[in-house]
């Protein structure tokens, strides 16, 4: 590492060489936080939406009814609070609150995953609720009319379709999390933005460093979007099906092609 570079591309090459592993580590942490946060958030969202779908049984006693009502209230508050405040503020309150009042010095990475998870969970709860509503009630009634319970109906009929329908929104949350996890630099999580800041500081080359950072974010989000598209296609199953020879219809196997939507 001898001469100080003179051109933009010279700087980019220089910084990549000097801080390449730093960028990589930052990108890895960003991806880790976004993936775990999105998955945990998705699970939280599912649980919240299913819990909110519980109806109060008419014949239930006072205690179960009060319980269900209290649970619903608590979940509504959770969704409102975490959708109604910025994640950067949530990070500060949770991280420093835990340190000051619970004497809990959270590991930064664990704190990051926790914060992204509960933040995403609040959004996912609403997304899943929309997904459940997108499955027409006729199918639930059909399930009920052959004796399936509320849970069986949810598990085998409603949720699989709801999840398929909300997959684009879930992917969107994932992309948002890749980008927005950058605010977690305020609690010193060594994600991509935090790493970039320290890389830029030494030579004061903010433009070049953050140019590289931008490209890395773009690569991450682009890759993720493509992978999710693939997953969607996989969930839709084959476009073809085979008609087998039937007792009442002796045509041999014919393959039908589903028309494009």
């Amino acid at each position: 590492m001898s001469a100080i570079p003179a051109s933009f591309f010279g700087w980019v090459a220089f910084l990549l060489q000097k801080y390449g592993s730093l960028f990589l580590r930052g990108a890895w942490i960003t991806l880790l936080v976004a993936i775990s946060g999105t998955i945990c958030g998705f699970v939280i969202g599912l649980l919240v939406a299913v819990a909110r779908s519980l109806t109060v049984p008419a014949r239930a006693g006072f205690l179960p009814r009060a319980g269900i009502r209290a649970l619903r209230g608590a979940l509504a508050v959770y969704v409102e609070v975490f959708r109604g405040t910025p994640m950067i503020v949530q990070a500060m309150v949770i991280y420093y609150g835990a340190a000051q009042y619970l004497g809990l010095n959270m590991n930064e990475l664990a704190a990051a995953v926790l914060i992204v998870s509960i933040n995403t969970g609040a959004y996912m709860a609403e997304i899943v609720r929309g997904g459940v509503m997108s499955v027409d009630t006729g199918q639930s009634e059909a399930a009920r009319s052959i004796g399936m319970s509320h849970w069986q109906t949810m598990a085998s009929v409603v949720l699989p379709q709801a999840i398929r329908n909300i997959l684009p929104s879930v992917g969107n949350e994932f992309v948002v999390n890749i980008k927005d996890s950058s605010v977690l630099n305020v609690i010193a999580v060594s994600e991509l933005f935090f790493m970039s800041k320290s890389a830029a500081g030494t030579y004061l080359r903010y433009f070049e460093v953050f140019f590289i950072t931008g490209i890395i974010y773009l690569i991450l989000t682009f890759t993720v979007t493509r992978l999710l598209r693939l997953l969607e296609r996989k969930m839709d199953g084959p476009k073809h099906f085979t008609v087998f020879g039937s007792q009442s219809d002796s045509r041999a196997e014919i393959t039908y092609v589903k028309e494009e939507r």
Binding site: G138, E141, A142, S145, G147, F244, S246, S248, Y256
Partner: protein
């Protein structure tokens, strides 16, 4: 038609053959009284056709019998037992009283085969092999066995309704309720569904059929129930209803639709 006779009937000696008895049933939505003092009986092997103008409460009646709606008065009896009574085995009742809907309501995330297998596995706790065998038997009966791997989005309306009938039959029901099973179909495909239903009737399955297909009602029904404004106006044998109805409103309705 398989008719497992064990389990929930506690025949009180009322009417020996009565499978479903509706006694003074009423239903109101808010202030809107949709059903008033409905009484009729479906005996074993009978086909009861329910006809009447739009909004007369026919769907609501079937939905009350299947408890998709909760009646606000009166009772529905299954083999002499009140289906809303304490300790009545509702899941078993649902398994034994199937329903076929106007909009088919197939499970869109499942293949034709799985549509017919899911309830057997989850509700009747049959194993996979037995369930698939039963499913294939009924899919063949409705002429849809060749389509076992298709998804509902890939088949026509008439085919969907035939699969929906096979799905209901796969539970080995004693009674099937049909709510305008051909109203959402193209005229050309109505026939294929009606012929499946004629076949079921000839095999002795007990059926309650809400329909606008007067030809079907005339040929197949054991009795025809004419409803209007939430009331049963007239109930009689099809020959009487269609040739010599006693009530003036029945006559008016038939004059309009025939």
């Amino acid at each position: 038609m398989p008719q497992s006779q064990d389990g929930i009937e506690g025949n009180n000696g009322a009417e020996l053959d009565a499978v479903i008895e509706v006694v003074g049933l009423s239903k109101r939505f808010g202030g809107n009284e949709v059903l008033r003092d409905i009484r009729f009986t479906a005996r074993r092997g009978e086909v009861v056709c329910v006809i009447g103008p739009s909004g007369s409460g026919k769907s609501t009646l079937l939905r009350c019998v299947n408890l998709l709606e909760t009646p606000t008065g009166g009772r529905v009896m299954f083999h002499g037992r009140d289906i809303q009574g304490a300790g009545f085995p509702l899941r078993e009742y649902h398994a034994r009283v199937g329903m076929v809907f106007q909009q088919f309501n197939l499970f869109n995330n499942m293949t034709v085969m799985r549509n017919c297998v899911e309830g057997q596995r989850k509700v009747l706790r049959r194993n996979r092999d037995d369930s698939e065998k039963v499913a294939m038997k009924y899919l063949a009966m409705v002429g849809m066995d060749g389509y076992r791997d298709a998804k509902p989005a890939q088949i026509s309306g008439g085919q969907k309704q035939r699969v929906a009938i096979a799905r209901a039959l796969a539970m080995d029901p004693e009674v099937l309720l049909f709510d305008e099973p051909t109203s959402a179909l193209d005229p050309e495909t109505v026939g294929e569904v009606l012929s499946v239903m004629r076949n079921l009737a000839s095999m002795g399955l007990t059926m309650i059929v809400v329909t606008h297909e007067m030809g079907f009602a005339r040929d197949v029904a054991s009795r025809v129930v004419f409803m209007e404004g939430g009331l049963i106006v007239e109930e009689d044998a099809p020959e009487v209803i269609f040739t010599n109805p006693k009530n003036a409103r029945t006559r008016e309705f038939l004059a309009r639709v025939l």
